[in-house]
């Protein structure tokens, strides 16, 4: 089942912070975050595993709340290059199927 992302879109000024949320109706084994710029392929940002392990970007952080079946992506002191659509992908079975949310469009203005 597709995870739900919120907000669907957000507009910020450069230097402001943003939080993007991802919720699943099922227990999560892992959460993946990707960013896609217009007309380009999605690019890996973060992976968070059940149990607390994570690997990812040095300027973007994320949390994984197993009990609430949620993950949040934190973008601090946003830069123009952060603009794009962010997707969370959730793995409910610890297996091969990663299901992506509908995306959150982030626009950073000067």
């Amino acid at each position: 089942q597709q995870p739900v992302q919120s907000p669907q879109a957000v507009i910020l000024r450069e230097g402001e912070d943003a939080v993007i949320n991802c919720s699943s109706s099922k227990a999560l084994y892992s959460v993946h975050w990707y960013r896609q710029k217009h007309g380009e392929a999605p690019v890996f940002l973060m992976i968070l595993l059940k149990g607390g392990e994570q690997k990812g970007h040095d300027k973007i952080s994320a949390s994984f709340n197993e009990k609430k079946q949620q993950s949040s992506l934190y973008l601090t002191a946003s830069q123009l290059s952060y603009s794009g659509t962010y997707f969370c992908g959730t793995d409910n079975q610890g297996a091969q199927k990663l299901v992506f949310g509908q995306g959150t469009r982030l626009t950073i203005n000067p």
């Binding site: 597709q2 380009e40 392929a41 999605p42 392990e53 610890g94 091969q96 990663l98 992506f100 995306g103």
Partner: protein, 116 residues
């Protein structure tokens, strides 16, 4: 950049015709995936492969078939294209499954398919 190539990059085809999209990788990764991307729906998994000749269905597999006869190639076939299959198709590869710490999926540049 990961060595992953999709072909063709753009295609216009008529309703009812068969279409095959190709994903070629030079990374020797075990897992390969086909996603479609449509406005408001994000990326939806069509089929995936976890080894040569090992494939399974994703969320939206109806009307699609896949084949993987070699590690490096993963083919997606629309047996009889319909207008609802107009979309951007992305291939992705990963070394291991999604629940492994060092898994990072690399996506191809996409194929824009229009069915008229």
């Amino acid at each position: 950049d990961a060595g992953i190539t999709q072909s063709p990059r753009h295609k216009v085809t008529e309703t009812g015709t068969p279409v095959t999209l190709r994903c070629h990788q030079t990374e020797n990764h075990r897992y390969m995936y086909w996603y479609r991307q449509d406005p408001g729906h994000g990326l939806r998994l069509i089929h995936y492969s976890y080894g040569v000749k090992d494939t399974d269905k994703g969320e939206v597999s109806d009307g699609y078939s896949v084949s993987r006869s070699k590690t490096e190639d993963f083919l997606l076939t629309l047996e009889s294209a319909t207008s609802s299959q107009t979309s951007v198709y992305f291939c992705a590869i990963s070394e291991s499954g999604w629940a492994v710490m060092n898994t990072e999926a690399f996506f191809g540049q996409g194929t824009r398919l229009t069915v008229v």
